[in-house]
Structure formats: C-alpha cells, structure tokens
Point group: none
Chain length 201, copies 4
C-alpha cells in the first residue's frame, strides 16, 4: 500500500520536475512561475505546493535531478576508460555530448544555478563549490591527480587545471560555436586540453 502511494507521489514529483525543466528552458527562471509549470504539467498550481514545500524547494529538487542525471551519464562512460589520459579525453567528450543531447536539461540547469538564491540572497553559483557534493568536479580533479601520479600529466596545479577544463566545457556549451562543425570542434577542444596537461618532453 505504502509502496504504491509513494510511487504515485514520486511519479507526480518527477512529472512536475520535468515540466519545470521545460518551462525553465522556454521562458527562463524569472517567468517560470508555478502556474506556468502547472499548466505545462496539466495539473493545478496547488498540487505543486502539495508535493513541494514551495518554489524554492521545487527548484532545488530540479537542480538535484539535473545534476544527478548529468553525473550518471558522465561517470558511467568515464569509468570504462583505463588510463587517466583516456579518462580525461572521455570526460571532455562525454560532457560535450551530454550537453548536445540534452540541451533542454542544460538550459534549465543554467537558469537555476544563475538565478536561484538562498532566502538570504546568496546566489547558487557562489555556493556550488562550498558544497563538496559537486561530484563531477571531484571526478575531474581525481583524474588529473591520478594522471600526475602516473606521470602521464605534467606538473600543473590540479585545482587550476580543473577550473580551466570546466570553464572550457561550460563556455563551449554557451557559445554553441555556430560556425563550426560540432564534431570537429569537440576534437579540437580535446586536443588543446590534452596539450595543456600533457607532460612536457
């Protein structure tokens, strides 16, 4: 009995979250009102308030949903590669792939991260790294460290390198490099990064 009820509730929550993602992608955070989301999900506004404590709660849950989705996508494929170099290359490729394949998810995530704030007005993009839950970021740093230990990578500061790589990926997504063939772009990007971390000879 309880299992079934939980199941219904969980389905509803996911339905609402998905509607939220769509609306965020379409009209942005500012205009992503609960009523817009409710309309998209074809339910009443009150039902959102029933399943989430409020708009903030919904956004937080949506953020977690999106983050986990991305994480599982990336970590799965990266895990298959044996060496740090291959892991890194995979990390870059898969990250870009994910964005290309799930543009909407990515838009919504950006909207939340850059718009949501805690009740005392601290923006999420300032919070993100305090929370040592940024699994993707941790994975990247680990890869870099292992690469250095294995003497595959040079003697850079891993924190700095990780920032560069993360930034490169983010920026690539935003400015969707319209004029270039996407596959070629990805390949070029990977090469540049690899050149940067490669051990100098």
């Amino acid at each position: 009995m309880e299992g079934k009820q939980s199941f219904i509730a969980e389905a509803r929550r996911e339905q609402i979250i998905k509607a939220a993602i769509e609306v965020l992608g379409e009209v942005g955070y500012v205009h992503a009102s609960l009523s817009q989301i409710a309309k998209k999900a074809k339910i009443s506004t009150a039902l959102i308030s029933y399943h989430f404590t409020g708009k903030e709660d919904l956004m937080n849950n949506t953020l977690v949903y999106l983050t986990e989705l991305e994480w599982s996508y990336i970590s799965d494929k990266v895990g298959l590669k044996p060496t740090p170099s291959e892991k890194l290359a995979a990390f870059i490729e898969v990250s870009l792939d994910y964005q290309a394949a799930h543009r909407l998810n990515n838009l919504a995530l950006i909207e939340i991260v850059f718009n949501a704030r805690t009740p005392d007005h601290v923006p999420y993009y300032k919070l993100e790294d305090d929370v040592e839950e940024d699994l993707t970021s941790n994975l990247l740093q680990e890869i870099l460290l292992h690469g250095q230990e294995a003497k595959e990578f040079g003697d850079f500061n891993p924190q700095v390198a990780s920032t560069v790589i993360k930034g490169a990926i983010s920026e690539s997504i935003l400015s969707s490099h319209k004029k270039m063939d996407s596959m070629k772009y990805n390949q070029e990007l990977a090469e540049m990064i690899m050149k940067m971390v490669r051990r100098e000879g």
Copy 2:
C-alpha cells in the same frame, strides 16, 4: 539649454545605472525591482520610467555600461604590450585583475546576462556572440591570430582556443578558488594557458 538638460539627464541615467548595479549585486536580478533601484538611488520609481523606456531598457543600458567599462580597462592595458605572447599574458592577467577589483560590476553583469531575456524570451547568454559587438572576444581572437602569424603560437583553431581561454577566465571568477592565494592562482593559470597555445617543439 539643451546641452545642459542632456547633461542633467545623462547624470541621472548614470546614477540610476549605478544604483541598478548595486542592487543587482546585492539581491540578484529577480529581486532587483525598479522600486529597489529607485530606493537605492534615492529617487522615485517613476523617474526611472522617465529616463528609460522600461526595465528591459534599463538592464540593456546597464549591460552596455558594464561591458564598456570592462572593455576599456582591458584594451588599454593589453594595447601597451608589443608581442602576441605578452598581449595574451596581459589579457589574462588584466581580466582577472578587473574582476577582483570590480567584483560588484562583475556580479551585476552575470546577473543581467544570465537572467535578462528579449521580449520573445531569448536569453542574452545565447545572444551575446551573434552580436558582433563583443569587443573583448574579438580582441582575444585577434591576439591569437597574430600570434599564429608571428609563429609565436601553435597551429590550433583560434575560435576553440578563444573559447577555452574565455571559459577559463569566467570559471576562475565564479569559483573564486577560495583555498588558493589569488596571485599564485593567476600565475598558474597564465602558465597553463601559455603552454596550451605555445608552439610545440
């Protein structure tokens, strides 16, 4: 007569824009209402509507104001350097410096870029590069091209490299690398980028 009026008007516009920047930094785009901005500027809300056609117009003007400020800061200092390598190093250093020195400006700019949308809901961060007004981005690409022509830099795709560098700088600003000494961080970052663009062999 008209000159004087324009002058007053211009002063008011700047006063309002500066108030907008402060409010954006403090509470974020969503809560940066015209009345908050008016309060900060110690004027009436109606006066904002008098000097700007609406909130969107104010935000656009604020964006231009911030962009120009950053541009002049960066282009001045980069222009002094003779070689592409030095220009690039200066570009990175000065970009990071500017952010450190004008955190508030930078916060406000982020808020606008990631929140503002055209009336038909196209977000600014998707627009940015269409507008061939992104002078900073152009400058960076020029430096890279000249570096390649001068055989200082390797044979990478300049568009990709530019994206990596821009992303690295943006990301550095956001995750204000709390645990590291800022000067050391900047130096490390510059070195990594230089290694990436440097001609091999």
Copy 3:
C-alpha cells in the same frame, strides 16, 4: 457493532475537538486551520471532514464541549451551597477558579465566540443570549432572584446585576490583573459584588 463504531467515532471526535482547543489557544481562530488541527491530532485533514460536516461544525461542537465542561464544573460546586449569598459567592469563586485552572479552554472559547460566525455572518457573540441555552447565565439569574425572594439581596434589577457580575468575571479573566496576588484579587472581587447585591440598611 454499531455501538463499537459509535464509540470509536465518539473518541475520534473528542480527540479532534481537543486538538482544536489546543490549536485555537496557540495560534488563534484565524490560523487554526483544519490542517493545523489535523497535525496536532496526528490524523489526516480528510478525517476531520469525515467526522464533522466542516470547519463551522467542528467549531460549534468545540464550543458546546467547552461550554458544557465549564457548566458542569460550576453548577456542581454551586449546587452544594444552601443560601443564595453563599451560592453567589461560590459562583464567583468557582468561575474564577475554573478559568485559572483551564486557561487553554478559556482561550479557545474566547477565540470561537469572538470569531465564529454563522454562514450569513452573524457573529456568535451577538447570538449567545438568544439561545436560551446559556445555562451559566440562567443559573446566575436564578441565584439572584432567589436571593431577592429570600430578602438576602436588595431590590436591583436581576438582569442588570447578572450582566455586571458576568462582565466582572470576564474582564477579570482577560486582564489577568498581573500585579495583584490572585487569591487576594478574587476575595476583593467577591466582596465588591456582595456589597453591590446586599440588602441595604
């Protein structure tokens, strides 16, 4: 079977009413929502709607519950006294005692009487005396009448006197005469009332 169900139902109703009393005392009528009451009773909101036709019905039943409680407390003790004078003194004393001992009940009762309204918006405090069910009031008037018949009391109008006494007791409860010792206060009050009704000469 039916007996058992009734018994369960009756227990539930009382449980709900008691929860209502608590919530009324804590947050007042306006914020005493069914969900608050349900939470306090650790049941679902729907269950309240099952046992009572609606909020109004619950409040009415709570009112009756509280009134009967007070009535039985007072009438019992007053009944033991032989003479009208003693009955009156007991009435005053016991009324004040009851309030002191059951502050919560009293708070809830006030909240209902001064907030609840019939569907056509007639407030309960205007209704109260129409309903010839105000047993307490009747008891008081009877005592006064008997006292006059027995020549213990003077020649006042019993309705007026009853109003004064009721008002004095109510007011005493509300303004809980913080600065005075409660026992001394009660004694003083009783004396003043007795002086008022006493036969002159």
Copy 4:
C-alpha cells in the same frame, strides 16, 4: 505642495480605515480581506498596500483610530463634571451612549481586539493592558482614586473596582439587553455601580 499631498494621502488613509470598519462590522475579521475593503472603498487592493505596509498595519491604524475616537468622546464629557461621583456616573453613561451611537465602530473594535495577533501569535486582548496607553482605563482608575481621597467612595481596591466597571460596561454592550428599555437599563446599571463604590455607613 507637500501639505496638499499629505492631505490627499491622509484623506485616503481615513477613507480606507472607514471602509475597513464597515467591512469588519459586516463580515468580521476573518472575512475582512483587503479586496473586500478595497471594494467597499471603491479603490484597488494595491492602493491599500500603497498607503499601509500591509494588512496588519491597516488593522493597527484602524484600532488606533477607533480608540482615539472613543477616548475623545468619553474624556470630553467626563471632564466637565466636578466631583468624582459625578465623573463616575458620567463615565458609565457616556460609555454606554457611545456604544449605542456608534455600534459599527464598536463592532469593528471588538473584531480587531479579539482577532488580531502579533506576528508571533500573541493576541491583542492579552496585550492591551501591558501598553500603559489605555487612556480610558487610566481615566477610570483616576476617578476612583480621587473619589477615595475625597471620601466619596469606600475603601475598595481601585484596580478590582475598575475591572468590575469596565467588565460591566463591556458585557452590557455585548448582550444588548434586548428586553429592557435602554435608558432604564443604563440608569439601573449606574445605580448598582454607585452602590458598589459608595462609602458605607
């Protein structure tokens, strides 16, 4: 200029307050929504929020308005009488008169006092006497004290007596003693109170 603007604003505030009083009297505190009040005043809801910080602020201002009205009505007429006995008689008479003449005001006042709460849920009727601003109450106590000093009144505790008198008046208002001629009622009441405070012997 400023005087004129203040004047307009003040007129609006009073208009709103008067509308609030009417609505409170008609449908009670619970249903006295801002939109009901706005409708009664034939203005928009937002305008109420423009002139008052919120519903609570409006209710507080209405309370002050009503209290001051009653106070000036009573204090004026009581002040004309020379002796404590006459002052007390006048106090009772005038209090009852005021209620009869301004039933609506009185209803509204009751609604506010018994329904409004501070943000942390402390009801106003528990607050009232802490505030040593209850001018009416103070006046009554002064009369009683002077009467005792002048040997016109007996040796009762003035705080207790004041409570009795206040309660008697309040109760008289609530239970509008339907079956009795109002003038006769008032006279009877005054007599009973006078008998209570009169010096014995």
